[in-house]
Structures are given as C-alpha cells and as structure tokens.
C-alpha cells in the first residue's frame, strides 16, 4: 500500500488544488498513468502516479487545496513502500471510504450546509477539461452564490471591535510602538479617535518635547566628544549651519566660536591652523572645556533635584591592611586608599543597584555593569571623568593600575574613545586637594555622584573608648526622581561596612 501525494509541479509550487479525480476506488492503475488533475497558479496539469496497483481510498476531495506532499489517495498493490505514518493515517481515520479535504466537504454537502458554515473556503473552480468539453455552458448560479457568500464571510471574519477593547486603550501596534518610543504612558491618555481610541496625534501631543538635534557632521560629533566639547555650544559654519570639525577645533582654540563672524576669506587659513594644533594648545582647550562643563552642570542643576547625604567612615582597618600589603613593595607598586574607596563604591552599587544607571524618559534604567566615572581635575583647570569599566570585577591591584594610568593619560589628553563613555556612576575624590567633604553635581543622565574627601586623623569614640583614627567623609549626591534618601543611606552604609573588611575588597 502506498500513498499518492500532491506532487510538486514547479520550482515555486508549495500547494496545489486538486481539481478532478480521473480514477475511482477499485480502478487498476499503472505507474505513469494519469490519475488526477491538479491546478497550479499557472495551469491545470494532469498528474501521474508512480506505483502500479489498485486505487484504494481517495483521501482528498476535488476542490481542496493542500500542501505538496499531502497524501491524496491510497494505492494498494504490488508496491511495498509504506504510506507515511502520521499524515495519511490521520486523514484516513477521519472517514473510512469517505473523501476528506483540508476544508472542503464534497460538493453536495457544501450546498446543503452552505449558509450555516462560516468556515473559509476556496471557491470551487470548474474543472478546466469539463469546461472545454462544454463551452456553451454559462457560469453556474451556484458559483455566483458561492462568491457572494464568500464575500459575506470575509466581512464576518473581521474581528468586531468589542466594547471592552474600545473602552480600554484601544491603541493599535503603531500607536503603542510610538508611545513606547516617546516614553508616553498610554493609560494616562484620553483618546480623541473614533470610539475614544488613542491616535498617533494623542501620543505626539503627550510626548515631552524633544530637544532639537544639533546639525553636525559625524566626524565633528566624534571629535567634540573626544575633546570633551559640547557640540551644542559650537557654532556651525557648514552647510545649513552644520558643525564641522573645523568649527570644533576653532571653538576649542578660541573659546569664542559662538561669536565668530560668518565665514570670510580668512576661514580657510584658520581651519588649517586649527587642524595643525590639536594637542599642544591645552590652555586654549580649557576655554572650550569650561563652556562644556558650564553647559552640562547647568543642565544637571536645572533638571535634577539633588539630595545630599554624608557619613564619616573609620579607615583604621583599611589603613592597617594597606600597610601590610604595601610592606616590601616598591613605592610605585603600592596601593593607596583611593583604590579601596573606588572598589567599595562599586561593590556598594552592586548592593544598591538603583543608584547605578540612567534617568531616561521619565524613568530609571538600571545599568547592567558598574562603570565608574572617575573625576580627574586637570592642572590647567577643567575636569574630565574617564571611565573604568566593571570596577566591581577588578582586584585592588588591577584597579590601582588602571587608575594611575587613566589619570596620567587624562591629564596628557591621551584618552581612548572607550574610556570616555559608558559611566554608570561617577566618583569624585578631592582628598588630595585637602578638603574633607565634597557635595557634587550629578553627571546626567546618571543618577548619583559619590564624593570622598581627604583621609584625616580625628578623635574617634568606639566601644566607649576615645582614640585617634584615620577617617574619611563619604558623601552622596543623588537624583531624587530616581531614589529617596533611604536608598542613598543604604548605599553609604554599605560603603562603610565594605571598608571595614578591606581584605575582601
């Protein structure tokens, strides 16, 4: 017994419509005999069987459209290759001796049940050969009826907007996508569309205004970023006011880029002059940097509701440990407290992840890594915050090495691109400047800034005893939109606790 299956009749054929059986159960067939007519997108084609034997059950009725490979009939006879189990078995089980199709009952049934059966159905085509034999035939009324019926079914098939759906958000995928993109909470909107649906316009109205994008060439943007210049503060002289690299250089050099007259004959000269002098104009660079810092800090203070916490931490254990570790080390290899403070700041952020990340689109987005921006003051003035990535994973010695290298290169203007981006939390240490506490300004879009002052000796009471201990004041400036004071307190407490077990840092 073997299955006669829907054949593949062309390179692009995925399914075919069985138009007509040319054999009946019980007929003897030979390999190569034409047994059925199959309609493809191109034509009706007589198809042959590949086994000799007797036609058994017909599994698919004329008019059904089935995928290539679907068993259409059983041929019983000499052949030994079995019907593929599964597909054919199931189909045959559906009705012994009764042709069954994917969705198509035999024609008589179809007419009888037509009106009650809303299931989708392919219009039954007339067999081509039959039409050819009887060219005088007019289209059958039943067909026209079927066509109308199928149109009706199509309308019914559309999902009715239910009351529940329209009273809720009722926003389509496009609108939902837009809302997500623009950071709009759909449940807070009142829809103005039909039936109260939320429309695109509703979302756009509700979205916070976007800051105008600065028109700058890709290279100018990259250059400004590398030089720590806010491209928004640079006056563009390019096409349509675009900021070009020359403008960034000029802004850095003169600090008066914004006041520069319109392009004049001397500009080409200026441009080349600027291009030749990137690295040895540190003092001029500060002007541009000053303006960049001004813009950024103003933005931060304008936008971010800061709150501040402070605590003083006993560093006796840390210093003891450092002394032991540094014993016998060359001065250049010695660990300093700053490395431990950084590590503690990172591990505490691991415990209080709501301080490590960004405030974006009115929501806090936690960062997946702890990348600390380390504020570095430059000798000629100004400030950079190069980044040490994944500080929580670095042993103190490695962290120390990174820190020294980074500070040196930051001061020489030799930072790599990856070292200037990606900070998730910034630490500033003004201890070497002699102050005891620093209350910093958060670097947006980060949500906190940790400050350390100088390590100083102070009288310290512990367990009812007064002694002299090395202490440091740790501070936290945090974004009140993202966290409240209790969270900040937990963070500083964690820093303290971590520093009491320096060997575990």
């Amino acid at each position: 017994m073997t299955a006669f299956t829907m054949p593949s009749l062309g390179a692009d054929m995925e399914e075919g419509l069985l138009q007509e059986w040319l054999v009946r159960p019980g007929d003897r067939v030979h390999k190569g005999d034409v047994v059925a007519v199959v309609e493809t997108d191109k034509a009706a084609i007589e198809v042959e069987c590949f086994e000799s034997g007797t036609v058994g059950r017909l599994l698919v009725a004329p008019g059904a459209r089935v995928p290539v490979g679907t068993p259409l009939a059983v041929i019983e006879g000499e052949a030994v290759s079995a019907v593929p189990t599964g597909a054919a078995g199931t189909l045959m089980a559906a009705g012994p001796g009764e042709p069954v199709g994917e969705a198509q009952p035999p024609p008589t049934h179809a007419r009888a049940r037509g009106d009650q059966e809303p299931a989708a159905r392919h219009e039954r085509p007339r067999p081509r050969r039959q039409a050819a034999r009887r060219p005088e035939q007019t289209p059958q009324p039943a067909q026209a009826e079927a066509r109308k019926q199928s149109a009706r079914q199509h309308v019914q098939a559309l999902p009715e907007p239910s009351a529940a759906a329209s009273s809720a958000i009722g926003a389509g995928p496009l609108v939902r996508h837009l809302a997500e993109h623009r950071g709009v909470n759909l449940t807070t909107l009142h829809g103005t569309g039909p039936g109260g649906r939320i429309t695109r316009a509703d979302v756009e109205r509700a979205a916070p205004p976007r800051t105008a994008r600065v028109r700058a060439t890709p290279y100018a943007r990259r250059l400004a970023h590398d030089l720590g210049i806010d491209v928004r503060a640079v006056r563009g002289t390019g096409d349509g006011g675009a900021v070009r690299a020359a403008d960034v250089h000029a802004a850095m050099r003169t600090g008066t880029g914004a006041e520069r007259p319109d392009r004049g004959p001397a500009e080409g000269e200026q441009r080349r002059h600027a291009a030749a002098a990137i690295d040895n104009r540190a003092e001029e660079r500060t002007d541009a940097m000053r303006r960049a810092i001004a813009a950024l800090m103003s933005h931060a203070k304008r936008e971010i509701p800061h709150y501040y916490l402070s605590t003083t931490i006993d560093l006796a254990a840390a210093e003891d440990w450092l002394r032991r570790v540094n014993r016998g080390r060359a001065p250049a290899d010695r660990l300093v407290p700053a490395a431990l403070l950084l590590k503690a700041a990172a591990l505490a952020a691991l415990e209080v992840p709501t301080l490590n990340g960004y405030w974006q689109n009115d929501a806090f987005v936690p960062a997946s890594e702890i990348n600390l921006g380390v504020a570095v003051s430059l000798r000629q003035g100004g400030l950079l915050a190069p980044v040490i990535h994944r500080v929580d994973t670095l042993p103190p010695d490695a962290l120390m090495g990174h820190l020294k290298d980074l500070v040196q290169r930051a001061r020489r203007g030799r930072l790599r691109g990856s070292e200037t981006t990606g900070a998730t939390l910034t630490v500033t240490n003004l201890g070497d400047q002699g102050v005891e506490a620093v209350f910093g300004v958060i670097h947006p879009p980060q949500v906190a800034l940790v400050g350390f002052g100088a390590v100083v000796e102070r009288p310290w009471a512990a367990n009812g005893m007064l002694g002299v201990r090395p202490v440091v004041t740790a501070t936290l400036a945090a974004d009140h939109r993202a966290t409240d004071g209790a969270v900040g307190a937990r963070y500083l407490t964690a820093v303290d606790r971590l520093l009491q077990k320096p060997e575990e840092l």
């Binding site: 890709p218 390019g238 070009r244 690299a245 441009r271 291009a275």
Partner: protein, 359 residues
C-alpha cells in the same frame, strides 16, 4: 563600426623611456605574446588594421595571424570562443572595440566567464583577459562613448581593471594574465595619446590595490581611468586656492580596495568621487555607500560625487563637455566638501540635484 583611425609610429627605440599609453599597452602585449605561447590576441581588426585604436599595430607581422587573430563582427562568438579557449588551457586576450559593443557579448561575460567557476563547483576557472575601450571625450556620440565599467564591477567572479597611467598601461597586463579568473581591462579612449616618461624603475605592478597619485590633507578625490588626469588637474587648481587635495586612483574597480580609500578619507575626512559613469547606481554610488558604512564617523562633509549627466553622451562638443565630469566641477565639489565654496554670481553654488547636470 570603427570610431577613429589613429595610427602612430612604430615602437620606440630600446632604452628610450619616452612613451605613450598606446605604446605602453602594445609593449605589454608584445611581452605577453613573447613570453607565453598560450597567449593570443583576438578581436575585431586587431591584425591587419592594427587595432581600432592602433594598440596592436605591428603585432601581426611579428606573431602571425594565428596569434593575432582578426575576428568577424561577432562579439558574442569571439568573446565566448575566448572563454572556451581559456577553459582548454589557452591564455586569450580578447579585444572589444568599445564598451558599448561589449553589450553584444554580455551573455558570455556574465553567464559564462563570471559564472562557470562557481556554477561548476570550482571545476572550471576561466583565465581570460578582455580589453575594451571605454569613455567619452572624443565626440563619438551615444554609441561609442559610455562608461559601463561600473556595471561590470557589479558582477562577482570578475576582476575589473582601469589602468590610468603609463606604468599601469605597461605592466597591468602581466598580472591580469596570471590571474586564474576572468579580468576585464578598461582603457579610456582619451588616454591612448597620453605621453610621458615611463619611469626606469616602473613595474611590475599589482592588481589588488588602489594608489595615491598625489598626497593631500584636506579632501580625497577618488577616481580612476580617464578621470584621473582631470582629478589631478583639479588638485592643482585647489592647491592654488590653499586646499590640499589627495588623489586616489582606484586602478582595480573590482574588488575595490577599501583599505586605501578608507585610509585616505580617515585622514582628510572629506571625499569627492569622480566617475565618468552615470550617477545613478554608479561605481561612485558604491564608493559613497561604503564610505558611509565604514567611515561614517570620519566624515566631516557629505560625500560628493562628480559623475556624468544622466543623458546619452551627445555629439556636439559643448554638449559633450557639459555631460562629462570636468575639472571645474571637481574643484567645485571639493570646495563644497571643505566648506569653502567658490563665490559665484548667484551666490553659494548648490549641490546639483541627483539627476541633474553638473559641469
């Protein structure tokens, strides 16, 4: 069918390095024919006529009609025959009079030469060299003047060369013949008469890399073939205005040497691509796309293109000149790129529309 009847004197005396592009080509052919008996030259009027542009003049006398083989005007048949001969172990050099005529052989070039190696699962490499004249500038009108090398550079399986200098004319043929795959050589018609000193230490050359023909700092003029002299002239002009232009000669149009192009633009941050093909879908478009893909953050200005106007090349001199990239247009594009457009009567010149004309 012939275009111009250009005849020049015979080969220069030995030791005399003063030469022309045409003579350099002929010298390359002679060398190939002398050193490898599998090499033969086949094409329309390559023998008795001496080549439509005089490149093969005198070779028939030296190598005979079997190896300097005049073919009937059947581009498809003789290009296909070249492919078949290459399959059978020969090293044919097939000459097609102009790139416009090569369309009659496009079936053979694309469906056989470029395809056989892959379609046969690596069994059939096709070591053929097909030379043809390309480009406008000689008032030959719309069926002898087009620059379709960009089309051929679209096709995987082909290597496409555009020798633009005397050195490349003289030395590119040898590595092309050594390549186991089909190589198309596009010789710009305006270059044949170019003359100069062939440097004593010239050659051999490779066919993989582009070459910086003039170093510069402010803008890269990226070009090839017949547009190279124009780009170099434009660089001179720009230099007098204080703009330092680098000129990159692509040399090999497929595969493109991304490294050399990118290295140049990474330094200059501005690119002007000069291509005698039509702008739409051109080689210039490909290069511009690659620059934005690979060097977006190095670009300090939009990539400029100076291409032919989107018109069949016309006959009248004024019209033809207006249709082709010219020094003035290259200079203007370079100045736009560096942000110093030359003042004009009507104010700042606009970048021409995509399908518009440019001078």
């Amino acid at each position: 069918m012939t275009a111009t009847r250009t005849r020049t004197a015979g080969p220069t005396a030995p030791g005399d390095r003063k030469t022309t592009y045409r003579e350099a080509m002929r010298e390359a052919l002679r060398e190939a024919l002398r050193t490898d008996e599998r090499v033969f030259l086949m094409g329309e009027d390559v023998g008795r006529y001496g080549g439509c542009f005089g490149v093969s003049l005198g070779l028939l006398e030296e190598f005979g009609p079997d190896r300097i083989r005049d073919a009937p005007l059947s581009e498809s048949a003789f290009v296909g025959a070249g492919i078949g001969a290459a399959l059978a172990g020969m090293r044919p050099i097939v000459e097609i009079m102009t790139v416009n005529f090569s369309l009659l052989a496009l079936d053979q070039i694309l469906n056989n030469a470029a395809t056989l190696l892959h379609m046969s699962g690596g069994q059939l490499p096709v070591p053929i060299v097909i030379r043809m004249t390309t480009g406008a500038g000689r008032q030959l009108a719309a069926q002898h003047s087009h620059s379709l090398e960009g089309w051929y550079a679209h096709i995987p399986g082909l290597r496409v060369l555009a020798p633009a200098t005397l050195t490349d004319a003289r030395y590119m043929l040898a590595p092309a013949l050594a390549d186991p795959d089909p190589v198309l050589v596009f010789e710009h018609g305006t270059l044949y008469n170019a003359s100069g000193e062939l440097p004593a230490d010239a050659g051999p050359v490779g066919i993989d890399r582009a070459a910086v023909r003039r170093a510069g700092a402010d803008v890269s003029l990226i070009t090839y073939g017949g547009s190279l002299p124009k780009a170099l002239a434009a660089a001179d002009d720009l230099a007098s205005g204080g703009i330092s232009a680098e000129v990159v000669d692509l040399r090999t149009l497929r595969p493109l040497d991304d490294a050399t192009i990118g290295e140049s633009v990474t330094r200059t941050h501005r690119a002007v691509v000069v291509d005698e093909g039509w702008r739409t879908g051109s080689l210039a478009a490909e290069i511009a796309a690659r620059l934005t893909e690979q060097h977006f953050y190095d670009l300090d200005a939009p990539v400029e293109r100076v291409c032919s106007a989107e018109v069949p090349v016309p006959y009248a001199r004024g019209l033809e000149e207006a249709a082709l990239p010219q020094v003035g247009g290259i200079v203007a594009a370079a100045r736009r790129a560096v942000g110093e457009p030359a003042p004009t009567e009507t104010g700042t010149p606009e970048r021409p529309p995509v399908t518009g004309r440019e001078g």
